[in-house]
Amino acid sequence: MALYNFKKIMVVPTAKDFIDLTLSKTQRKTPTVVHKHYQIHRIRHFYMRKVKFTQQNYHDRLSQILTDFPKLDDVHPFYADLMNVLYDKDHYKLALGQINIAKNLIDNVAKDYVRLMKYGDSLYRCKQLKRAALGRMCTIMKRQKQSLEYLEQVRQHLSRLPTIDPNTRTLLLCGYPNVGKSSFINKVTRADVEVQPYAFTTKSLFVGHMDYKYLRWQVVDTPGILDHPLEERNTIEMQAITALAHLRSAVLYVMDVSEQCGHNLEQQLKLFENIRPLFANKPLTIVANKCDVKKITELSEENQKIFSDLVADGIPVIETSTLTEEGVMQVKTEACDRLLAHRVDTKMKGKKVHDVLNRLHLAMPAKRDEKDRPPFIPEGALTRRKAMEVDAPKRKLERDLEVELGDDYVLDLQKYWDLMNKDEKSDKIPEVWEGHNIADYIDPEIMKHLVELEKEEELKVQAGEYDSDEESEDDEMKEIRQLAKQIKEKKKLKFMQSIEKDVHGPRMPRTAKKSHYVAQARRSRSTTRKRKREPSAPPLSRTRSQSASRPPRDASGVRDAKMLKKVKMMMKNSQKDMNRMGKKGEADRHVFDLKPKHLLAGKRKSGSTDRR
């Protein structure tokens, strides 16, 4: 189906452009450097390549043109006829034929010169051969100038043709110029065809689409047809005739009752009779347009007779006015229904139907008893349907209220609540009390439960569960407790004092194994004693007593216990911060993490920079 390819036809360049294009391409895409001193086969190969490349290019482009353009024999006869009308079938075929001949000629030229080049014995010879070859090819193309121009114009026009599907449901509008065909299509579809008071405003076919009964319909608007024999018709009218002839559609013959188009009713009738043969096998409807100006009943007797004759023939005549839009919908429905019926009939008479019909079977349930079971439609649905038909006045919406009150409007959905008491609707409902949700306590029977709870509580109080044992303590017990407290404190004190004494000095814990170093230390003391000292060397016990006479370091310079206490406290206070930071001592200023990642990296979302 060549429907869409009309837009995809490649651009046809002019002859001059074509030549320039191909030659520059050859220049760019093939090697450019060759010298006299190269080996002859290399020179030959170089020039042969150029010739072949040029030939290839021409061949490709021309073949593409030939394949892109639709073959009049392959497309739907409607399009074939249309193209004949617009572009002249002979001229078209001739142009394409010329292109084909040119292609073959170029191929031959290339073949010949490549063969000749095999016998070229110098760079100069090969070069001349190449020049000749390319020259001949380009001359052939120059001669195709006319054909290429014509084909370009055809292509441009083709791509702008409206896409009419010849097989789908179509309504075709025809009649004299200026009767109101374009206004009709404007009303019925979303098409926007020019409507002007002069004749032949519409110069080509226009398509509009509309929906009816959930199906897509094409509406084709044609240029007006005048009443003269077929041979004398011009291109514009021929398009309309082509459409009439080939499209299987419903025909709407539009007549101007008021004779404003410049032709009276007899002429219109005559035209109708003339093209009647084209309406064979097509459901026909007559549209009596411009009835706002003049109705059929206002016409003279003879003219009215014309219409009644037509009706008697079996052709429906519908009065319309595209200005006031009366009758337009009626025409549409009438024509569509008739076309659908016609299409169904044709399908039934065809051969494909039986395949489908054999497979279709409508199952009806068998009656099991005489009881009548009609379909059930709830009352609400019925009332709503009635309201839709009668178009009952709508209830007042919030939006209307909003528009009315303007700035004072306050949205209050609580007024639609369905409560037991109407006046409670605007209450402010408490939600939370002291950390508890009130909604969790809501229970219709809460008072009952509360009464039971109170009863329980009373029982418990009576049973003495809430009595405290503190009063049952007598004085003796209190005294014992106090004494016990004092004893505990005294014990603690004694313990702490004994620790402070530090009688033995630093000790290895009991669980530490007798290690190598301990043995060494012990040994070293005995081994270093190399020579016996004079008796004046003080024994160990002497050093002990000496240290005993000197006050310990942390108690030197301290006057009394109070000062000692204060001194100790000061020392501990100054050490607190260091201990907390895990420092070895005052001199430990080492910063383990100079640039902590969590402070310096990443986006700053929430939190301060000391913890982010």
Binding site: E424, P430, I438, A439, I442, L453, E454, Y466, I487
Partner: protein, 162 residues
């Protein structure tokens, strides 16, 4: 507006506080603070984390079954608003809260009673054993003997009179 319960510590989550995590199986977890959230992410079991209410209740440290606790629960049947019902509920709520707190406190007191007994007996044994640390033995005994003798003499005198 509702005050939700934290999934981890069972504390109240006020509006505008805490975090909510929705899992792929559409279960919603609310947390009152980042402590609970972080513990959850570490996959810790609230029933085993000692500071949470879930642990306390499952370990029997707090009152679990009681009628006063049945008042506050989420009911699936909605009740239409009635002013008097709401008023009554607010008052009842206050009374129920009182009773609940009383009972919870009593539960804990009962639980700690044993400890108090132990404390008592410990104090007595402590005094018996280590009284010598604060009082010299026989410190007040002389005075006491004197008083006793005086008392005995008095009784004898009375007896002699009768």
């Amino acid at each position: 507006m509702r005050i939700e319960k934290c999934y981890f510590c069972s504390g109240p989550v006020y509006p505008g506080h805490g975090m909510m995590f929705v899992r792929n199986d559409c279960k919603v977890f609310r947390f009152c603070k980042s402590k609970c959230h972080k513990n959850f992410k570490k996959k810790r079991n609230p029933r085993k984390t000692r500071w949470t209410k879930a642990f306390r209740k499952s370990a029997g440290k707090e009152l679990t079954v009681d009628n006063s606790l049945e008042f506050e629960k989420r009911r699936s049947i909605p009740v239409k608003y009635q002013r008097e019902l709401w008023n009554k509920t607010v008052e009842a709520m206050k009374r129920v809260e009182e009773i609940k707190q009383k009972r919870q406190a009593q539960f804990i007191v009962n639980r700690l009673k044993k400890g108090r007994e132990l404390e008592k007996s410990e104090a007595i044994s402590e005094v018996k054993k280590n009284i010598h640390l604060i009082r010299a033995p026989h410190a007040a005994k002389a005075k006491k003997m004197e008083e006793k003798m005086v008392q005995k003499l008095q009784e004898d005198v009375e007896m002699g009179e009768d």
